[in-house]
Every structure is written in structure tokens, then in C-alpha cells.
């Protein structure tokens, strides 16, 4: 192990240099169990992400990723993970490049592409719609499996003219969404979703779960956290909830619980959390999978903010290793933390900064800069009394605000109206600034023959005409 260490360090130094996330703590989950909840191509993505971000799990994850890549036909992926493991663990068996495998798979992929294309051509000649559709689908699947996502997306969209049932429309949509998800093309994801959710479906419940999960992930990635939370919370797990979900190639139900719970915590107030999360019978089975999230939410609702934050803090390494959540976690966490501070201060008109520090900065970090930032961004309506070390709530005075606003509005209105009238007057007196050069240029170009002559009221020809004449 000691021999591997320098490689790991070099690897993570590179990641840090590129501004990537690096997690030094060991997460709470077991990698093998974790990856079992997923199917399809997301397994590799997740393994690679963990390998790249988590120091303790790096080797295990990268090795699993190599195995995962070799199980499929995607040469690009193998090369990608090899580049990582080459630096992180050069002496391990996976550190050697398997050229034979790469050559064989590349050859097979090429042959398969050719075979499918010929097959599709044959179907097209026969003009059988159903065959053409299936041919395109096969081709799309193949491209997806070898990592040519753009071609896959193209092949899938070519299925569209030949669909005949709503189930097929749904299939096309799902294919396109799955590819777009891998490409992180969120507008495309939302666009395709709109198409499949607008048609009546045979398996309504499965589609509902699928579409809400994808909606949620897309909104989250677009930083529309409130919309994302709403989408996740609308998932109807139903009575016969099964843990292996229809969306396991995208996310696991545990992920959904975490996404939904955290986003709700970040964007909803206490009452909304109670109604839409804790009392939400449809979402409840999913939330139970991650009971600590439920606990954190109920701590928040019950005003035990430091307990809530402590739970979230202890799970932070786990969440930082999630492919979708990783990027947004710092923002979501800071929003939750800010909300906790605001809620903590709400009942008091004056609160000592010492007590705030005790509740929110157990390690003794300074809290005043954070408070200053919160006040500046308008999250916390309070002022700091630095002499007595207290935070003073600004009691809003709507009457005063209304009076000030009214007077200000009339003042602004008057000012703008006067200015506009002044400008109208200036234009009416023919005082507009005009480009004199342009006119002479026009003259040079021989445009004097313009016959329209304009005169102002006093009978004098106007400036433009003067210069032309």
C-alpha cells in the first residue's frame, strides 16, 4: 500500500489543480452495495466519479470501473479510466494497458455498426415501417453502448417518423432522454420529457416515477432547485413500492430520497416541509430509505438546527460522490445553513453572537463574516451591534416603507415625465443631434436629387435640407 501512496497523491494533486472535488473522508456507504442499485451505463460513470474524487475509495472504485468498462464495448471509457489508474496505481494489474482487448472490441464494434447499417438499409428498401423503426432502435442502442452518443441520439430520433403506438413514442422519448442525460444536455432532456408526458400512457405509474426523477435531475442541474424539489416530491411511490426502480439506469431510489430531501430543505419553509415532505404519504416510502434525511428534516422543522446541520455534515462525503449532486452540494448546503441561521434568529429581536457561534460554529470558526455576507445578500434581515456583540433584528416597518416608497415613486415619476417632455420639446424645436458627416457623404454620393423638401413651421427649410441644398 505504501508503494501506491505516491501515485495516489500525484493523482489527486492533479485533480485539485484542475479544481475538481476531492473527498478525504471515507463515505458511509459500501461501494459494492452502492453500485448494485444501478444498472446500465451510469454504473461506470458513478464508479469513475468516486475513483476520481474519493481518496480512500479511489483504487477500489477505479478497478471496478476498469472491470465495468471491459464488460461493455465502450473503448473510450476504458481509455478514460486507464488514464486515471495509470497515475493512481501504476503497479497494479489494471495499470497495464490491455491493447488486445481494445483492438478486438474496436474491430467488433466496427463490424457490428456496419452490419446494423446494412440491415437498416435493407429494411428501408422493403418499406416496412416497423422494421425500419426497430432497425434504427438497434443502431441507436449499439451506438449508445459504444459511447457514440451523438450518433445514438440521431439514430433514436430517426425512429420518430415510424412510430405507431403511444408506447413506441414513449420508448423513443426515453431513449433520447437517456442519451441526453449522459450528454448533460438539460434543455434537450426537458424537451423530450414534455413530449412523452403529454401522451396517455399504458403504464402510468412507472412513467410518472421515471419522468419526475428525470425532471428533478434536470431542474437541479439547471439550478432551479425549487422546481427540482417539487418534481422529486411528486413521485408517487405507491403502496407496492419496490426498491429496484424503473429508473435504476439513472438513479437509485436512495438518490431520489437524498435529492428530494436536500432540495426541499434548501427551498421550503418549515410549514411546507411538514406538509410536502414529512406528511407526504406518496414520497414517504422513498424517504424511509434514507432515514437520516427524514431525521434532518424533522430536526429542522422542530427547530433543532444544529442537529440538522450535524447530520448533513456527517453525510457530506457521501453526497459529494454523487454524479449529479456533487456540483450543487456546496450551494445547497450553504443555503440550508443560511436558512438554519435565519430560522434560529427569527424568534429573537436581539441575539448574542456568542450563542450563534455556539450553535453553528462548534469548531470555533468566526461567524461574523458569514453573518455579514448573509445580511449583504438580503437573506438575514438584521444588523450587527459590534460593541455589545449582538445581532439586532430589523423589524420591518411596512408603514414607513410604504410612505417612503410612495414619495419616492411620485418623485421619480415626476422626474421622468419632465425629462420626457423636455426631450419632446427639443425634438419639436428641431434640435436633435444628427450626423453631419453622414449628410455630406450622402451629398458626395450624388443624392441631392431627393425631392422631398421639409420645412418647419416658420417656413425655413430644416437643417438636413439646408446642408443638402
Amino acid at each position: 500500500m505504501a508503494a501506491v501512496r505516491p501515485g495516489l497523491e500525484a493523482f489527486f494533486d492533479q485533480i485539485r489543480l484542475r479544481g475538481g472535488t476531492v473527498v478525504e473522508e471515507t463515505p458511509k456507504f459500501d461501494l459494492e452495495l452502492y453500485i448494485q442499485s444501478y444498472t446500465g451505463r451510469t454504473r461506470f460513470e458513478r464508479l469513475l466519479t468516486i475513483g476520481r474524487c474519493c481518496i480512500p475509495l479511489c483504487l477500489e472504485a477505479l478497478k471496478a470501473a476498469v472491470a465495468e468498462a471491459k464488460r461493455g464495448n465502450d473503448v473510450g471509457r476504458y481509455k478514460e479510466v486507464y488514464e486515471c489508474i495509470r497515475i493512481a496505481a501504476p503497479s497494479s494489474p489494471e495499470g497495464l494497458f490491455d491493447q488486445a482487448w481494445v483492438d478486438r472490441v474496436t474491430r467488433e464494434n466496427r463490424a457490428q455498426t456496419h452490419r446494423l447499417e446494412v440491415q437498416l438499409k435493407g429494411y428501408k428498401n422493403n418499406l416496412v415501417k416497423e422494421s425500419i423503426r426497430m432497425g434504427n432502435e438497434d443502431l441507436g442502442r449499439h451506438f449508445e453502448s459504444i459511447g457514440e452518443l451523438a450518433s445514438a441520439s440521431e439514430a433514436y430520433s430517426r425512429m420518430r417518423p415510424d412510430v405507431s403506438t403511444s408506447k413506441q413514442i414513449e420508448d423513443v422519448g426515453k431513449h433520447l432522454i437517456d442519451v441526453a442525460l449522459q450528454q448533460r444536455d438539460w434543455p434537450m432532456v426537458l424537451g423530450s420529457l414534455a413530449k412523452i408526458t403529454s401522451i396517455p400512457s399504458e403504464d402510468h405509474k412507472a412513467l410518472q416515477q421515471y419522468s419526475k426523477v428525470v425532471h428533478g435531475i434536470a431542474f437541479m442541474s439547471l439550478e432551479q432547485y425549487r422546481n427540482a424539489a417539487t418534481a422529486f416530491l411528486q413521485i408517487n411511490a405507491g403502496k407496492h413500492f419496490k426498491a429496484t426502480a424503473d429508473y435504476s439506469h439513472i438513479a437509485s431510489p436512495n438518490d431520489v430520497a437524498v435529492y428530494g430531501g436536500l432540495l426541499a430543505l434548501a427551498t421550503m419553509d418549515r410549514q411546507e416541509l411538514q406538509i410536502h415532505v414529512l406528511d407526504n404519504q406518496n414520497f414517504r416510502p422513498i424517504l424511509e430509505l434514507e432515514s437520516h434525511i427524514r431525521k434532518a428534516i424533522s430536526h429542522f422543522v422542530n427547530g433543532r438546527y444544529s442537529a440538522c446541520l450535524a447530520i448533513l455534515e456527517s453525510y457530506k462525503p457521501d453526497y459529494l460522490l454523487d454524479i449529479y449532486l456533487q456540483e450543487h452540494l456546496p450551494r445547497i448546503y450553504s443555503t440550508i445553513r443560511r436558512k438554519c441561521i435565519v430560522e434560529y434568529c427569527r424568534p429573537f429581536s436581539r441575539i448574542t453572537i456568542g450563542s450563534l457561534r455556539e450553535a453553528f460554529c462548534p469548531a470555533g470558526e468566526p461567524i461574523i463574516p458569514e453573518l455579514v455576507n448573509m445580511i449583504r445578500s438580503g437573506v438575514l434581515k438584521a444588523r450587527i451591534d459590534n460593541i455589545d456583540e449582538v445581532l439586532v433584528a430589523m423589524n420591518s416597518n411596512p408603514r414607513k416603507a410604504m410612505q417612503a416608497m410612495t414619495l419616492e415613486r411620485t418623485r421619480l415619476y415626476e422626474k421622468e415625465a419632465m425629462e420626457r417632455i423636455r426631450r419632446m420639446s427639443l425634438v419639436a424645436a428641431n434640435m436633435e443631434v444628427k450626423n453631419a458627416k453622414k449628410l455630406t457623404a450622402a451629398q458626395r454620393a450624388g443624392q441631392e436629387e431627393v425631392t422631398d423638401t421639409w420645412f418647419d413651421n416658420s417656413g425655413d427649410p430644416m437643417a438636413t435640407v439646408e446642408s443638402q441644398a
Partner: protein, 486 residues
């Protein structure tokens, strides 16, 4: 002679119509009196000047002064200094309603004052300011006298006396197209825009350059008096001067630079151009005033050291544009606005913390001592910029700054009276709008449009807000689109 000169105005209330006929008759009589009987009248002028009251018999008084100033020096029985005294008495007390009828000779006299033929500059500034306000107390119309006054004041350094004039924002300029004259010039309800014109002779011709220069000078006068809000507004009037294709004049560019700097001082942030500025113009401003824009951006970011280095970087530009002093003011204002910003975060804090948190724009460093901070804050409180108090802690003697809440709590009565003030000024605005509306209604094109509208109504197709859309379409087919019948 006396009867002729004192005949107008007649005693008692008279209608505008009678006033109009009487005043015209009076002018004719006075003119012929001075023309035909000069030899008789001239020797009697010393007595006449005492007898005729300039505030009551303004036309007659002006005629006497006019005759005297044009007459041969040897025949004039009144010394020049005496005459000056009378002329000044007249200019400070004339009846604005009568003067509307003798605008030309009045303006002639005013021009002589502007040319300093009567009194030296400083005194002339005061007299001219009074004349302008007497003629049109609303200050709605910009006249040639305004422009000359601003110039005279700026040159002579007599700034304070012009404030009452330049603080009134003008909204009209002479020679606006379609501006109608009132039926009777003496109509007291007529808008100043209708009677202050070349035709009545109360103002000379104005060009756009004169108007811009006037506003520019106003800005400079306000800046000299450290009235930053007003200066910013005045420069803003030049900056937003209407332009048909985004072309800028040199005055506009100069004004933009000063507008940016005064905006920083007055608002504590980077000023933004209003939406009605021509897009090309606003782009051109950005190019021409780049160093100023950059300075303002750094100013808004609140970093004093950056501000200082930015100011040093373009020092040559400031020098060339003659804006060095203004930039210095901007640097001085930076720390003040930083302290103002602290009032958004703190209720009370020690002066030492203020010293640590804010840096001087001039040096880019924190102030050296607490005393300097205290002096700075004291200055801000005294100037009314900051609502705060300086106190000393009893326990350890640390000095601290306590911010007071912004704006005072108004009682219902106070608020009502302020609102009434607003309503009054909006009503006054209503008159201005009415004048403009009337003028625009007189526009030829508008009249044509109204006529066309009327004809259409007579035809009976009134219920068609879609301008003929309904009639032109017979059928809309989703496959082929709209089918037109015409």
C-alpha cells in the same frame, strides 16, 4: 404727457380682451409721443422717471429708459449713473404681464446688461437672475437669457445667485413646432411656452449647442458648489440629449465623463444610462468614456486600493479632460460610501473597526488614526449624508459609531402634507403635459390622422379594433394558412 404715460393700466378689473386692446393702444400712443414730441419729453424725463412707477406702468417706464439710452448724450438731462439706477429699479420690479407686449425692447435692455454695458458682471448676474424669475416664475421655458446668465455667472464666479434659476428644470424651448400663441398675450393662465418666443421677442434664438452648453455649465456650477446630485442631473440632461442616429457632440462626451464622476460621488455607485438613450449613443459613450466607465466600475466594487490604482493608471486622461479635481473628489467619496454601506450591516461598531473595514480612496490604505476616522464621520454627519451619532463607551472609553434608522418616521399629518406636496407638483406637471398635448394635437400629421379616423367612423366600420384584419380574412385553414379576400 403724464396722462399718456400713466394711462395704462386702467383702474379696476378688466377682461383679457379689453386689456389686450388697451395695451396695444397704449403702446401706439407712447411710441408716437416719444417720436413726435421728443424735444418736449426729453427735458422732462427726470421728473417722469420719478413719476412713473416701473412696477405699475412698466411699458411707459421702459419706453422712457429706451428713449434716454438711444438719445444723444448731450441732450440727455439724466446722468448715466442715475439712468442705471432707474434701469435696475425697472428690471427688478417690472410687471411681467405688460412686458409680454414689448418683448423686443425689453430683451434689448437685458442684452445690454448681459454685455455689461450697465453694471459690472457680479451685479449683472444677480439682476439677470431676478429678471428671469420675474418673467416666468415657473422656469419652464429655457431662454437665451438663461444661457447668457449661466455663462456670465460661471465666468465671473458668482455662482450662488444663479441657483434659483438653474435649479428649476426647464421643459420647453422656444420655437417648438406647432406651438400656438395664446389668443391674448396678457392671458395669465397661458403657458409660458406660448408667449416666450421669438415672435414676442422675449427670447433670442436658441440652438442645440446653446442648450447643451447651458446644461453643461449648470453641471459645472453645481459641481463647484459641491451640489453633486444637481450636478449629476444637469450633466445627465446633456448626456440624454435626443439624437436621431446615436451621433454625439463633443459637449455630450465631455458631459458624459463628468456625469459618470458626479454619479459616483452623488449615488455611491455607477450611474446607468436611462432606457431612452439611443442604443448607438450609449455604445459610443462606452467607447469614448472608457477610462471613466472603468473607474466607476471599480468604484462600485468598493475596493479602495483598486480604485486608487485605477485612478493613477489614467491620470493623464483626467488631466487632459480637466477632470482631475473631480476624480480627486471621487477618491475622497469612496470611503464615505464605504462607511454608508456599513450602516446596512451594523447598528453600532467601534471606530477602530470602521478604520479596519474601510480604506481611503486617496491612499488605498486604512486611515492612520481613529481621530481621522472620527473627523471623516463627523463631516459626513454634519453634511447630512449620514444619519448616525458618535458616542463613547463608559466602560473602556472606546469610541463608537451608532447608525440611526434611515428616514424619519412620519406622522400621519406629516405624511399627508408631503403627499399633498407631491400631488401639487403632479398637478403642475399636468399643466405642462396639457401644454405639450395641445401642441402635439396641432401637428399636421396628427390632424390628418384624426380626419381619416373620422371618415372611417362615418362609414360605419367602427367595431374593428384589428384595423381591417377581420374583413380581409375569409377563412383560416390550418393546412394552408390564412386566405385573404383582398
Amino acid at each position: 404727457m403724464d396722462q399718456v404715460l400713466l394711462a395704462f393700466p386702467p383702474d379696476g378689473e378688466i377682461s383679457d380682451k379689453t386689456y389686450d386692446t388697451e395695451v396695444k393702444k397704449h403702446i401706439n400712443r407712447v411710441e408716437s409721443l416719444f417720436r413726435e414730441q421728443t424735444s418736449v419729453v426729453l427735458p422732462a424725463t427726470p421728473q417722469l422717471l420719478e413719476l412713473v412707477n416701473p412696477s405699475v406702468n412698466s411699458i411707459s417706464f421702459l419706453a422712457i429708459i429706451n428713449t434716454l439710452k438711444h438719445a444723444d448724450n448731450s441732450t440727455v438731462p439724466v446722468s448715466r449713473s442715475e439712468l442705471t439706477k432707474h434701469a435696475l429699479r425697472f428690471l427688478q420690479s417690472f410687471d411681467a404681464r405688460q412686458i409680454r407686449y414689448v418683448g423686443e425692447s425689453f430683451l434689448h435692455l437685458v442684452r445690454e446688461v448681459i454685455d455689461l454695458k450697465w453694471i459690472p458682471g457680479p451685479q449683472a448676474v444677480q439682476v439677470l437672475a431676478a429678471v428671469i424669475l420675474r418673467l416666468d416664475s415657473t422656469g419652464q421655458v429655457l431662454t437665451s437669457t438663461h444661457c447668457s446668465l449661466a455663462e456670465l455667472a460661471f465666468e465671473s464666479g458668482q455662482l450662488a445667485p444663479v441657483l434659483p434659476v438653474i435649479e428649476k428644470p426647464y421643459v420647453f424651448v422656444p420655437a417648438m413646432a406647432d406651438q400656438s400663441a395664446p389668443q391674448y398675450l396678457c392671458d395669465l393662465s397661458a403657458s409660458p411656452a406660448s408667449y416666450i418666443s421669438h415672435k414676442t421677442g422675449l427670447t433670442g434664438k436658441l440652438t442645440k449647442d446653446m442648450v447643451m452648453h447651458y446644461d453643461y455649465l449648470c453641471g459645472r456650477i453645481f459641481s463647484s458648489l459641491r451640489k453633486w446630485d444637481e450636478a449629476h442631473a444637469a450633466f445627465g440632461r446633456v448626456v440624454t440629449f435626443p439624437t436621431s442616429d446615436g451621433t454625439l457632440t463633443q459637449t455630450m462626451i465631455d458631459a458624459y465623463k463628468k456625469w459618470m464622476l458626479t454619479g459616483n460621488i452623488a449615488l455611491g455607485r455607477r450611474p446607468e444610462l436611462p432606457p431612452y438613450v439611443h442604443p448607438t449613443a450609449s455604445r459610443n459613450y462606452g467607447v469614448m468614456g472608457k477610462p471613466y466607465l472603468d473607474l466607476a466600475t471599480v468604484f462600485a466594487s468598493g475596493s479602495a486600493p483598486d480604485l486608487r490604482s485605477e485612478a493613477e493608471k489614467s491620470a493623464k486622461t483626467w488631466e487632459e479632460d480637466g477632470n482631475f479635481d473631480l476624480v480627486k473628489e471621487v477618491l475622497a467619496a469612496a470611503q464615505k460610501w464605504a462607511i454608508m454601506d456599513l450602516s446596512n450591516l451594523y447598528t453600532r461598531l467601534s471606530l477602530n473597526l470602521v478604520r479596519e473595514l474601510t480604506k481611503s480612496g486617496q491612499t488605498g490604505e486604512s486611515l492612520a488614526t481613529e481621530q481621522e476616522v472620527e473627523d471623516l464621520i463627523r463631516g459626513m454627519i454634519e453634511s447630512g449624508m449620514l444619519r448616525a451619532t458618535l458616542t463613547q463607551q463608559h466602560s473602556d472609553g472606546t469610541k463608537c459609531l451608532a447608525f440611526l434608522s434611515r428616514g424619519e418616521d412620519l406622522s400621519e399629518e406629516e405624511f399627508a402634507s408631503k403627499m399633498k406636496g407631491s400631488v401639487d407638483s403632479l398637478k403642475a406637471l399636468g399643466h405642462t403635459v396639457e401644454t405639450t398635448n395641445l401642441r402635439l394635437t396641432m401637428n399636421k400629421d396628427y390632424a390628418k390622422h384624426v380626419l381619416r379616423d373620422q371618415k372611417r367612423q362615418e362609414k360605419g366600420d367602427t367595431n374593428d379594433p384589428g384595423i381591417g384584419f377581420e374583413q380581409s380574412i375569409e377563412d383560416e385553414d390550418l393546412m394552408t394558412g390564412i386566405m385573404h379576400t383582398m
